[in-house]
Amino acid sequence: MTENIVHIIYLIASVTFVIGLKMLSGPKTARNGNLLAAFGMTLAIIATIVFHKGEVSGLVYGLIFGAIGLGTIVGWLTAKRVQMTKMPELVSLFNGMGGACAALIGLLEFEHNIGNATSIAVILTGMVIGSVSFSGSMIAWAKLNGKLRKAIRLPYYNILNTIILVGLVVYAIYITSSGTHSETHLYALFAAALVYGVLFVIPIGGADMPVVISLLNSFTGLAAAFGGFLYGNQVMLTGGILVGSAGTLLTFVMCNAMNRPLHNVIFGAFGGGGEAQAGAGVDGNITEVSPSDLAVQMNYSSKVIIVPGYGLAVAQAQHVVNELEQLLESRGVEVSYAIHPVAGRMPGHMNVLLAESNVEYEKLKEMEDVNPEFTQTDVVLVVGANDVVNPAAKTDPSSPIYGMPILEVENAKSIVVNKRSMNAGYAGIQNALFFNDKTNMLFGDAKKVLTELVSELKNMD
């Protein structure tokens, strides 16, 4: 009887995961979809504890509730307090926690299954994937928050990584087929998987981290699914596989947005050294503009498009951008935002930030819709974006970003680029746009110079 109740609750939870994911794919239903999935998850966790068969000591219950309580408080506070600009690295961090959880399950279940080759194979696979996801996510986290800025490449890192991966698989097969199932080997495999996760992510540049996180996200899903296989637990199985397949698809969608195949991201990464010579021929004069001159120019425009990038996020300039937009609109200027699919550090990152400062959803235009509009635009204001507006993506086949769809801002009548300095963008390449005759540079911290711009505009009445 109780067993059947658990099965039914697991079924309900699985359905909430499917419907929740579906609802997450539409802007109107997304928030409720997330809450629905959270509700299903709560049900599954409660059912697992309440309907467990067999004697369980009070100590064990105490530890479980303690760990859940502590995890809830820490997780809740971290998620509530994080600045929205730091969100991508937080997702990576939470993903790593899930991977570590799966790896620990493998370590603990090993001894209970010695002698059963099938279970051992399932345990080892889940543990290896979980460990790779954990250490990889930690590296991605460190890269995103700037602790680890450079891509580190060991000599022949592609070959080295492939050898280690093959080694992991062979070693796991060896442990499974050896009758003894020694725990020493288990820990050695665990350590090797952790090392592989580090080596897998560390050569990949920071600009590609969203793709990597999405990939590791689906890895953790797979690890959870292997746990489900081990226990014959349907909710772990459906939840894990759903995330595994949806995450894989999402990874490919993101790669498409950058027009780069996945293997290119993983094996032939740009985004930190190695490509320094590309774009070196780009040179010429740059022209600066002052906030007061720009204020005049914008005030007499009829159409302005703002292109936000990561620089805007770093400077926390989303609110002042919104203020600028309101002010210009009140003067009869048409203002919209052009959002590149990979603007910021994650697809959709800019949308979240701008939505945070109350920019209307309708004003955020996707790349395909906004590109034809640039020719009728008087002023394009690029705030802290670089690679996504680099014309080399269309004109220079030798450029590492060649082929990536870009926002065609160079078609506008006038372009203003706000940057802190002339340093190259995340991909480490120079941008010919800055030397364009129509381009004026507005140097300085985005929040500071935009605040000046707003006050200049206000003074013009």
């Binding site: 997304a30 997702v91 939840g239 397949s245 999402l250 699919p341 994650m346």
Partner: protein, 101 residues
Amino acid sequence: MELIDFLGQNIEMVYIVILSIFVGVEVIGNVPSVLHTPLMSGANAIHGVVIVGAIIVMLNSSPDNFLALGLGSLAVFLGTLNVVGGFVVTDRMLEMFKKKK
């Protein structure tokens, strides 16, 4: 041969796996790029279901094996972080998409 036996014995699970793969792909088939980050974050929270496994490990472990209890508690803690943190941060992102009045 072993593989065929294995698949045969676990055929219901295999069905779940195969069908879930298709559902996962279909369900996020045409998501606008605006929602990629919240979707990834939401999916991230859902694989926190691995916590169910950690709880099962704990429930089955003997109360005098302190190493297992320690690691098990750690696993439950990390799984909870994944679940709670994941859902809360997703909710925060989506909260911002509310229409302005």
